[in-house]
Symmetry: D3
């Protein structure tokens, strides 16, 4: 089984980290490749970043489809391009916000999301609503660290830990969901420090795709998610 994990931003070090975290949870016999688009935003921190990353995501799905991947992960917490990817791919496609929040829903009454910038909180709440986890999503908390500073700011880990502690206290939640693929490597450390489960969406999406492929389940192709119509002579 081969899974393609697509990091929608173009920061190579983050793609490498995401790949490692995905491989760490993949089962025996599962190959995980992590890629990012050839061009696009270096980080995804607002709606403009989000939409400008999508053509690259779509191109990687198309390429992966030709190379025969069995399933796909979109590894940015905004799940950019998820529905478009489901039209193009034969195998299942899972976003990390989608999988992170649905996975956390198995762990008790509710979870808190801890994310990067405050301006993304509204989008995370929209996704919680769309994925049917609005009642379980007890709060979305920003630590106000830019995405690319997660790797470079020496205070980042401490501030994320503090945001998690605050979230647990305020929300009375049973688990934490990390709201950025760039935090994927922190989940076991944070979990040990906090004493609750900490869900990394990259891991959650990877195991979900693996399970879907193993059960031979994929996107329905009879309606909304059929292959896009072919238009002769169209501009694109």
């Amino acid at each position: 089984m081969r899974i393609l994990v697509i990091n929608p931003n173009t920061t190579a070090s983050m793609t490498a980290l995401i790949g490692e975290c995905a491989r760490a949870v993949a089962g025996p016999g599962v190959t995980v490749d992590a890629v990012s688009p050839q061009s696009g935003p270096a980080a995804i921190e607002c709606h403009v970043d989000d939409v400008l990353s999508v053509p690259g995501v779509v191109a990687e799905i198309a390429r992966g489809e030709q190379e025969g991947y069995d399933g796909f992960v979109i590894a940015c917490f905004g799940d950019p391009g998820l529905k478009a990817a489901r039209e193009l791919a034969t195998g299942p496609v899972v976003g990390i916000a989608e999988a992170g929040m649905r996975t956390a829903a198995y762990l008790g009454r509710g979870f808190s999301v801890v994310t990067t910038l405050s301006r993304t909180v509204g989008h995370a709440r929209d996704l919680a609503e769309e994925y049917g986890t609005a009642r379980q999503c007890l709060g979305v908390h920003a630590c106000d660290i830019p995405v690319l500073a997660l790797e470079t700011d020496p205070t980042a880990r401490a501030r994320i830990l503090r945001a998690c502690e605050d979230a647990l206290a305020v929300d009375g939640s049973d688990a934490i969901v990390l709201g950025c693929a760039g935090m994927a490597d922190l989940c076991h450390e944070l979990s040990a420090q906090l004493g609750v489960s900490v869900v990394d969406g990259v891991a959650a999406a990877t195991t979900t795709v693996e399970a879907l492929v193993r059960m031979r389940l994929s996107t329905g192709k009879r309606g909304e998610f059929a292959q896009p119509p072919v238009r002769t002579g169209a501009t694109t």
Copy 2:
């Protein structure tokens, strides 16, 4: 007052039609210009079309912003790129699905949407939910005419009329919302034939932007819709 109406697809004849319909409802002293992106899908009929049209929409907003337009309309019933546009524009930005459905909400208990292809019904329902019109949106009905065939298929008008009649009968609705910018020119004729108000989203969005500008109202810039962050050396 100058309003820029952006047709997210690249079909020039549709851009012209949209511009006419917008100008027909604009008040005295309001200039309306209609444009479409330089490249992108010729029609928007699925999620892939939708996301691939957005970089062009964003570019037109950015250009319009530099040229000093007071407000913007995004003239495709999927409202592609609406939130990203709100980050970039100083003046208000309104989508035609958003304005079409909210306008119809003033006309009674509920409305029916009549749109082009069945595969877009789910997206229209998502937008009804997002815009707070889910209870009023009593049904979304497809006439299964491709977008570009609206201009060329001689049976199109009759089939749209029949879809509207069916929608009114099944849903018991008080008004019709046309679910495609390419139907903008049909609303008065259909209204006369059906005996109920027929809402064209292009007209609704244009009058909404005009009203917002006149009232000096625009997108809040303190949080989610502030200008995108500037990243030194970022790929995009």
Copy 3:
């Protein structure tokens, strides 16, 4: 085009103020007349006030209908008699809570309402729910100034400003909606002081009615909003 703006309370100075604010946003060629019922409560600050104002509102709609007005505004934030008015009027009828909140929904993720008395907060929330703006209505805040004191209390403006500042801070909202027609004249001043858009429902409803009339849209008359049944010999 002639629009009749009905102030449901019988305080003439407030009717004059409402008329001025409506005319200030009406387009060229639009005549706006402001009236109030011949009898009824001097202010509308509770459910009893609300229901006792409605027969007067209904009478003004009936009179305006005979005089050929093209559309109607009900200018009290409780929107008293709105559905009954839609049965009687040929043209569109819009309430200021309805238009204020739906207009604010175009301005970002969410808005705060700032209103007069605490006891009206529940009704404002009910209206937010009914109009499909419950998710966007991030808070309803009372400044606890009686309606008629808005004109006479020299501290009123300062207290309203403070309530708006508090609302923005607590709710993280993108805009303010003024929750009383008696505040209509404050919106530009407050907007300048607060740095966010401030929506006056009177202006929002007036521009909405103007737009509906221009687009030839009105209440559906096939069902719930048909003219009331005529009963021979009935008491009323």
Copy 4:
């Protein structure tokens, strides 16, 4: 214990019928008086009727309050004036739509409402939503008999029975709620014919008020439902 049942319309024969049905379920030692306003609509079949009946309802509540009634029933399925009545009354006030639907909610997964005219269906659904019974209210069905014809049309009972049978078949419901006070006397006969519980709102509201009084429970008076403010020199 003395309960005042207010028929909001001015048709005396219906007031008499409502009084009988209320007394039939009142417990030993409970006096039930049924009254109607001195003027107002003869039947309540649209929004205009509804709002024009309310000043009369409010006057009867005020009179009943002075006469020391322990609790009040508003006996029209639109529950006109319910919130205003709660401001004025010391004892509990219950509407028949409210009590009819909440009572039916104890009887299984869901109920169907059978009412008079189609144009009132939307209002019944709004009330189901407001009272927290939207999920249980599986359908609202009109038999299209005008209110006053319930007493005079010899086919009325048969048509109501058929509407109930259709409702049970279509909705798969566990009970019927009668959507008009004028049907109050039919509930046992219909129940015997249909083989399911048939809820008359007049009975449901009367027993609910009796129970509330016995438990010494009444409307909270600390906020929204405090006595209306007194305004010196106000018009009303």
Copy 5:
């Protein structure tokens, strides 16, 4: 009329208290018997307690059914076994959370629940959702007194009073609902101290069952709540 009140826990002193409180509100001519299962948890303070109490509840319903009781109350705020009981009983079955919250919904805009242990708060909120009272349930507050300590802890009353005061202040509610059958005897005393209605679910459920029986209303038996299927040779 004979009503059987079942205390799902096996603490006899609590059963006696519940019986007294139920009898205190039952009308003339109504016999109320209070029982508890022969074995099961001594108190119900978590999900395991809840589910282990249910076989006993079901057995008491079956016994009561054979003894010809007209209706049943399940007197634990988690309403354990309510749906199963409705399958077995001919007469109506009402839970105290269900009746307590629906009864409080007649008393104004919203109520607060004051309950025992924090760990039951989520379940109380689930029930508020299920019973259609989620919007009215403005808060669920735990006083963190174990169920059995309600009778023995001399500070219990003072702490419950303080929890009620806090709830009213924070939630702005119109009434209190007591979230445990073991608090049933406190409602009048608390009401006098707090100045708002305090709803005891035992009283609310008893008067509700009495009213349903008087109106000859009971669970629909055509579908979900028909008698359980008989399986020849099945283990149970």
Copy 6:
């Protein structure tokens, strides 16, 4: 890794079938044991069956916990005892309705559930609501085959296939969820015949538990799902 799959009914042949289906999707190195309670209903087809199965489920969880299982599956589509099991188990516990419906939510816009008896439809819809999949659950369809007849009735497969075909046509869904553990072995055959993904909850729950264990995620133990309180001298 060792996973315990608990069939809440006591029919050994069904337990064997469930065990096979679980093992078929478990990854390398995962041991799956399937058990059923020592006593309880032979099939679970109504609320009484459901609640009477739960003490046995709870006992098996307690036994499995002592034997060191890493995670648990509850293999009945009503998910009986799921919350109680989460209090007792250290590792994750997943129900097959929960996992079946959440898994299907990854496969498109919506799914249909095909289940056994009509009387269980309401419970399945309640679970869809609780698990956040109400919008995706486009329909619940009964084939009206008793649970134990799934193994013995030679027409069962054909009738289930037809129910699936009807569901896809009526609901326009993207996938089918099988609403009974006794159908677990049919999913690949049905999928081949229907041309859409068919989700077996047993497989979905088993892969979900495996993934949770691999990611070291489990139920939060700080609040609602902490171990049950210990009561000295309590009856149970």
